[in-house]
Every structure is written in C-alpha cells, then in structure tokens.
C-alpha cells in the first residue's frame, strides 16, 4: 500500500510484525537454550533459564511456541515466496548482490531469491527440528521411541539447529546491511527509494494496485 503523504510503501501489517517478533524472541531463546546443551563452552547460557534442568524443561515448550508462531508467518507469507523464473536469474547474480553492483541485479518482486531461500529453509528446518525434538523429548515421549531412533533424532536435531542458526545469522545480517530494512518490521513501511532500489517490481505492483 502506497502512503503518498510520506512517500513510503506499506510492507507489514501490525499483525505480521507482532507475529514476526514473537517468532524472533522464541527463536533466540531456543537458540540460547539449545546451544547451552550443545557445547560445554556454552553451558553457562543455561543460567539464563534458571540452570540446566530448567533449560531442559523449557526448551521443548519454547519449540512448541515456535511451531505456532512460525505457522502464522508461513500462512502469511508463503504465497509471496513461491519460486519464480526470475529468482534463478537473481541467484546467478548473487556475486553482484554481495559486491553491491546494483546495476547488474535483475528487478525483484516482494522478496528476492535469497529471502525466499531463508523462508523455505526455515520452513523445512523448523519442521525437522520439531519432529526430531519430539523424539528427544524424553520426559514426555521417551517411552514411544527406541534408543536408536533417539540417537538419529539427536544428530538430526543438532545438525538442523546449526543450519537454522546459520540461516538466522544471514537473515539478521542482511537486515543490518541493507539500510532501511529494519523499519519494515518495526514501523511496517519502507521508503519509496528502498522499494525502488531493492524490490522494484514489487513497488510497481503496489503502484498499479492503487486507485487512480
């Protein structure tokens, strides 16, 4: 939605922003509590949750919370993240994107291919984490799985978590690097220039939607 008075373009509704930040808070808590049990050097992080036992108790419930908040994000955004032909073209220009050779980068719709990869990556990883997490949730579901299944789940859970955190780092870095991005999630809108520069096709679509 174009806000002519300010020259800005609406990007996220208040609902979407609340949903995103709840998701973000839970994801960070999950990463901190998970990492504390992942490596001895990070066990001190369990102190943030009231000790090792509390960390072990809380982590799976936080996981359930993430499943809920991410389902919300998924339902809001999946249709904008469907892969299009232009995304493959964008990916071939990933070097230009990283090097800020903006003139060589193809026009982008609401989301670029990198954002779409983060979206689908998170979707798949969170499903994998939830499934393997249930198998590892000994206090609740310990009796339903064999030890060998739990071993597989532990490896899968740890590997998926590391990739998820890696994706999260990329996601956060992109928001910090590309100036003017964070306000989309804090205020809901971006400047026209930001939309023109980074998501020109989306800007045109938004303009075309406006009544004349």
């Amino acid at each position: 939605m174009i806000e002519r008075k300010h020259g800005t373009v609406g990007r996220y509704t208040p609902g979407a922003r609340v949903n995103h930040w709840l998701n973000a808070i839970i994801l960070v808590l999950l990463a901190l509590s998970g990492m504390s049990l992942f490596h001895p050097a990070l066990f001190f992080l369990s102190g943030l949750f009231g000790g090792g036992t509390w960390t072990r108790i809380l982590h799976p419930w936080l996981g359930l919370g993430l499943l809920v908040t991410f389902t919300g994000l998924f339902l809001r955004f999946w249709r904008y993240n469907l892969w299009a032909g232009e995304d493959s073209l964008w990916m071939r220009h990933i070097g230009d994107v990283v090097a800020k050779h903006d003139d060589n980068i193809p026009e982008v719709g609401r989301y670029n291919a990198g954002q779409k990869i983060v979206f689908w990556g998170m979707t798949i990883l969170i499903l994998v984490l939830a499934a393997s997490g249930v198998v590892m949730w000994d206090a609740r579901f310990g009796q339903y799985f064999t030890i060998e299944t739990k071993r597989v789940a532990a490896v899968v859970h740890a590997a998926a978590a590391v990739i998820t955190i890696g994706l999260w780092i990329i996601h956060v870095y992109a928001a910090i690097w590309v100036k003017g991005t964070v306000r989309a999630m804090t205020q809901g809108s971006v400047t026209g220039g930001w939309a023109w520069k980074h998501h020109r096709k989306w800007l045109r679509e938004e303009v075309a939607k406006e009544p004349r």
Binding site: M136, A158, A159, V162, I170, K179, G192, V207
Partner: protein
C-alpha cells in the same frame, strides 16, 4: 551419588579443562564369573540394601527375571537365558548392570558439566545433583544401562559402590555373593584371576570360554567370564562388540567444535563484509525515481 573427594577424577562430562587428578589410584574391576553363578539374586538384594533402594512389587512375567528390566531402583539385575542347543539345555544367568567402560558413552553424551564422572580407578559415576534429566546418557550407552526416574527425571545406574570402594570395601554385590562368582580387585589382578578360571573351564570342555572385556569401549571395569565367549549375545543379548554408536560420536565428537567455528565464521564474514563493502544504502536518486514511479504509474517504464 555425590562426588567423592577421596577419589580423583579422570574425566568429567561436558568439561574441556583438566579434572582434579593429582592422585592416581589403581584401576579396579569387578569380575563376574557366569559359570559360578547360581542365580540366587543375593547380589540384587545386596544392591537394594546398600543403596537403600526398593523397586515396585511387580508381576511374574513368565521368566525368573524380576523385575523384568533394570529400573532407576534396580541397578543390577539377574537375566536368565534358557539355551537349548543340540538337545542340551543350558541355563545362562548374567548379572546385568553398568559395565563402567573405560570409554564411557554416557559421559561423552552428557551435556551437563560434572553430572557424570570417571574416577581414576575406572568407576563411572552419575553425580545426581548435577543431572539435568535430558536422557542423553541413555543414548550414549552401548549397553542400555541408565534409567531415567519418573519421580525426579534423573538418571540412575550402578555406582560400582564407589562409596564403599573409596573407603577400601568391595561392592555390596561382591560381598553378598555366596558362590564367589563376583570378585573385586585391581583390574590387573582380575584379568589374571579370570585367566585361571578360563584355563579351568577350557579343561572342563568349555573350549570357547573367555574373558569379556570389550576393546570397542577400551575395556570395562566390570568383566565377565563367559563359558561361550565367542557368542556373548547368548547371555541375554550381551553385545558382541559394543562401542559408542557412530551417531553419538558424530553428534558429540568433532562435529560440535566444527559447527561452532562454522557459525562463528559466518558471523565474522558478515562483519568483515560490512566493513569492507560498507552499508547498502538507498541513494537520493532512488528516492527521486521512486517518487516518479509513485506519482506517474502510467509511465512506469521510465527510469529503467
């Protein structure tokens, strides 16, 4: 159990710095001679007595095993196998419990610092007050020994009577055994003693008799003399070549530091990318172009 100051520690779970280890005690071992066992369960009773544990009164499940499995209250259990082969019946009775591996999978899997320790005498002990109840030790163990209590969600298993051993006593089970099927001493002595028993068994027709001290876990501090050492699985599925699951090794081994370094490098690359290419800022011209596009949608081709 709790930490024993009189025993020095070789390894501590989830700890990368050295453990207190100025004193070196000699490795101990319990030797269980299955050929001498009569299945009386005195060892089981002694274990309940010394450790002040009682298990639930269960039901008869059709075999002599009682209770049917190890529990958080039953740290040792007689497992009875009726083996019929070539028309001959053999009754194999194995006293199951923690093997006190030299390379303990439970300790390697444990994420809580000091919840599992290996004393320098070889005993692997759970320090319950540090246990967070995650159940990773269960996944790490190649013998399926630790049990998680439903009451407090903490892990329990045989301590090899570390509290008795630390004051120079033998484990309660060894003390109670009426046929001396359970011996206790230094590991070296127990290996030697086992050899005399094996020679004896060999002479009496058990040519496959041998010592069970599996090298896959660097040996154990509970060892068996088996009449059929070539087929340990006959004894209620005693694993032939136990080792820590490769899945656990992958999960708890080199993958952990590699993953942490990988994540650290990802963040570092991001930072270095920022300081080398600078922030990706919207230029004034972008705002002007956007203004045109917003104001004159008909001529949206402009500015391409």
């Amino acid at each position: 159990m709790s930490t024993l100051q009189s025993l020095d520690i070789t390894r501590r779970s989830a700890t990368t710095s050295p453990s207190p280890s100025v004193r070196e005690s000699e490795e101990v071992a319990k030797l269980i001679d299955i050929s001498k066992c009569i299945g009386c369960k005195a060892c089981q009773a002694a274990c309940y007595e010394w450790n002040d544990l009682r298990d639930e009164i269960g039901i008869n499940v059709g075999v002599y095993d009682n209770p049917p499995d190890l529990t958080e209250n039953t740290w040792t259990l007689m497992r009875f196998t009726e083996l019929e082969e070539d028309g001959e019946l053999e009754w194999l009775i194995r006293k199951d419990g923690c093997m006190h591996c030299a390379d303990p999978g439970c300790l390697k899997a444990c994420p809580s610092p000091g919840a599992i320790v290996q004393y320098s005498n070889g005993i692997v002990d759970f320090i319950s007050e540090n246990c967070i109840g995650c159940g990773y030790c269960v996944k790490g163990c190649p013998f399926n020994i630790p049990r998680i209590s439903k009451k407090d969600q903490k892990a329990y298993k045989c301590t090899l009577c570390s509290d008795r051993v630390s004051v120079g006593l033998e484990p309660a089970c060894a003390k109670a055994c009426p046929t001396q099927a359970i011996s206790f001493g230094t590991k070296k002595d127990m290996v030697e003693f086992a050899q005399t028993r094996i020679t004896d068994l060999n002479e009496r027709g058990y040519d496959k008799a041998g010592l069970y001290d599996p090298p896959g876990v660097d040996g154990t501090h509970v060892m068996y003399v088996l009449q059929h050492a070539d087929r340990p699985e006959r004894y209620a599925d005693l694993p032939k070549d136990p080792k820590i699951s490769p899945l656990v090794e992958a999960w708890k081994g080199v993958a952990k530091p590699v993953a942490l370094v990988g994540l650290g490098l990802t963040a570092l690359f991001g930072f270095l990318h920022y300081v080398s290419t600078g922030p990706n800022e919207v230029e004034e011209t972008d705002e002007e172009q956007a203004k045109k596009a917003i104001d004159r949608p008909d001529e949206k081709r402009e500015g391409r």
